[in-house]
Amino acid sequence: MTQYAFAVAIGLLFAAGTFLVLRRDVVRVVWGVAIIGQAANLYLVTMGGLSGAAPILDGTARGEYTDPLVQALVLTAIVIGLGTTALALVLTFRLAGTNDTIDTYEVGE
């Protein structure tokens, strides 16, 4: 069941992100990119399996554990995503200052 929920969530996030990227407003485009990045992160988490167990061996039982590697990858990817989204927003802010518009049609070439 979990995998269907994740599949639907990832699909919706990618769709929403793509929709926003295709808007004229640059702020929405940046949000769209951020959402696509988060969708990729969510997808990456699911690649480690969805057993529901903690991503660590607790030492008491030799029971189930979720692959911790993808979680480490996602942490890195989230940090990079934060930095790049912030940078893109700064560029948007500067675009408003230098071009007096944040409409992609009006910004032109």
Partner: protein, 572 residues
């Protein structure tokens, strides 16, 4: 042409056996102490980038950048020597064993690209010292770009590759947006948005590789993909995921149809930054394509279970066809757009797209040839195998020649802008008799793009044409026609630029002495003459790089001499 290529061709065929033996020795030595020299360029670039960022005064920043770049050049020179004489080296970060930890691998392919990056970086630094960009962040950003490019070339881990790409890209967004005006901001934002989407796509591909193959270490991945059944790997998704990665790498390399960010970004960036982007950053995309296509996916045979036209064939064949489509589109579109450009920077950026097509064309032919060779790629004497080596060597030589030439031309573009006040082709004219240095720098670099002997670009073009001529029969005519058509387009836009800028009616009045950056461009362009006349070392480097690229076994052995066996029950 064949006679001229004879000695090189036979060298290509005979050398892998010798190289493999040396590789085994190197791996045994590496078991004791780690070769820190592999990590040194990366540490130097990263360390001096941080130091330059923290430096309080402009003078100190310049000093740090100079020390860092010269140290980087020395470290890369040492690494090139060590790898060419002693075989590939691997550095296991924190001494973790390969499938678990990150590995830095320096083989001949990696050091060939590092050498190009180091030379371009020194030239860009010299240009930036002669004509300082009026932004305190230029030097830290360019050093971070250098660190990103170095990390991407050295890393042996797919996710780590993603991280270094992001380091490289974040630095390039900053460099493109450095002029702080409307055009630069637009260009930087477009560049950032496209590459952020590219980054997300790469992350999806990386996750997919981990889910299907159970590893992200490239050597381990290559080993498992060589025997997919034993590791329980479904081969069909691997091909799709590889396609995603190729698209992302093509975006970094600026190939059609992923080239939309390139023209505006290069035009907006300060001249030394544009030189770095065109010479070094694009080369990293080419490196990633070569590494993925041949080293990682080279041994992969698609399973027959799924059916369809690709079943049972080699994965490199399908990727080769895709690369050929990208290459042909890039050569034609880039060349035509460069012909129609109205300013020098626009001509250079579109020319870059076309020239990168010339780099990817032999890679595509080599990949297809590798898939149709019935024996393994390395079998001596098989003509298909020779074309594989020749194609990769052609791509390496062409990347180096083009990277140096285009970096020189972008520095020259900055010098022209400062000297004449414009780089608009219609406004300029008659500069040839004003400064032989400027005209000489342009001629050396531009004729390298055309491929005129005795410049280094001649060998690049020769090998590309030779690869097209010897490629698999159905491709032979069409690839040769495109390569020749692209060469004609190159002659067209180069001669157009020459007559518009250097001949004809005098343009704006210029001072008698050109800016000092023009001499930097001349010095960089002269290396093309040096490498062309004394082609031996460059040819050896390219030959060794081609062997290292296809020799998956040696790469795997360098990273982990005693890898784990496949599990008994196939649950990867």
């Amino acid at each position: 042409m064949a006679a001229l290529l004879g000695p090189i061709g036979s060298g290509i065929a005979a050398a892998p056996l010798a190289a493999a033996g040396e590789g085994a020795d190197a791996a045994a030595v590496a078991g004791g102490t780690q070769p820190l020299g592999v990590a040194l360029p990366l540490l130097l670039a990263l360390g001096t980038a941080i130091a330059a960022f923290l430096a309080p005064t402009d003078r100190l920043r310049r000093a740090v950048a100079l020390v860092g770049s010269l140290g980087y050049l020395a470290a890369v020179a040492w690494l090139v020597r060590a790898v060419l004489s002693g075989g590939p080296l691997a550095y296991r970060v924190s001494a973790w064993r390969p499938p678990l930890g990150i590995v830095l691998v320096a083989d001949a392919l990696a050091v060939a690209f590092l050498a190009l990056i180091a030379v371009v970086a020194i030239a860009a630094l010299a240009a930036a010292l002669c004509d300082p960009p009026d932004a305190p962040t230029y030097h830290p950003l360019s050093l971070f770009l250098l660190a990103g490019a170095t990390g991407a070339v050295l890393t042996g881990d797919l996710f780590n590759l993603f991280v270094w790409f992001e380091v490289l890209l974040i630095a390039s967004y900053g460099l493109v947006g450095l002029p702080n005006d409307a055009a630069a901001t637009r260009a930087a934002l477009r560049y950032a948005v496209l590459n952020l989407i590219g980054g997300a796509v790469m992350l999806v591909a990386v996750g997919g590789f981990y889910a299907t193959a159970g590893t992200l270490t490239m050597a381990d991945l290559a080993r498992r993909l060589a025997a997919p059944a034993a590791w329980g790997i479904d081969t069909a998704p691997v091909l799709g995921l590889a396609g995603l990665l190729i698209a992302v790498f093509a975006l970094k390399a600026g190939l059609v149809p992923f080239h939309f960010w390139a023209p505006a970004a290069y035009r907006a960036a300060p001249a030394p930054a544009a030189a770095l982007l065109a010479g070094a950053a694009k080369a990293v995309g080419v490196y990633a394509i070569l590494r993925l296509t041949f080293t990682v996916l080279g041994p992969l045979r698609l399973s027959t279970a799924a059916g369809g036209p690709l079943a049972g064939g080699r994965a490199v064949g399908a990727i080769g066809i895709a690369l050929l489509v990208l290459a042909v589109a890039s050569i034609l579109l880039g060349g035509v757009a460069a012909l129609g450009a109205d300013d020098f920077a626009g001509l250079l950026t579109h020319s870059s797209i076309g020239q990168l097509g010339f780099v990817v064309l032999p890679i595509g032919i080599a990949a297809v040839a590798a898939s149709v060779t019935t024996a393994t790629v390395r079998t001596a004497g098989a003509t298909g195998g020779d074309i594989v080596y020749l194609g990769i060597a052609a791509a390496v030589v062409y990347t180096i020649a083009h990277g140096l030439a285009k970096a020189a031309l972008f520095i020259l573009d900055g010098a022209l802008g400062e000297w004449a006040g414009t780089t608009h082709l219609d406004a300029l004219g008659g500069l040839a008799h004003r400064s032989p240095a400027v005209a000489g720098a342009f001629l050396l670099a531009a004729l390298t793009l055309v491929g005129v002997p005795p410049l280094a670009g001649f060998f690049g073009k020769l090998f590309v044409l030779e690869t097209a001529l010897g490629g698999p029969r159905p491709l032979r005519g069409s690839t040769l026609a495109v390569a020749l058509g692209g060469a004609v387009l190159t002659i067209g836009y180069v001669s157009r630029a020459w007559s518009a800028i250097f001949w004809g009616r005098d343009g704006p009045a210029v001072s008698s002495t050109p800016p000092r950056t023009a001499y930097v461009a001349l010095a960089l362009a002269s290396t093309l003459l040096v490498f062309g006349v004394g082609f031996g070392p460059l040819g050896e480097l390219a030959t060794a790089a081609a062997e290292a690229t296809v020799d998956t076994a040696e790469y795997v052995g360098t990273v982990d001499p005693a890898p784990a066996a496949p599990p008994e029950v196939g649950d990867a």
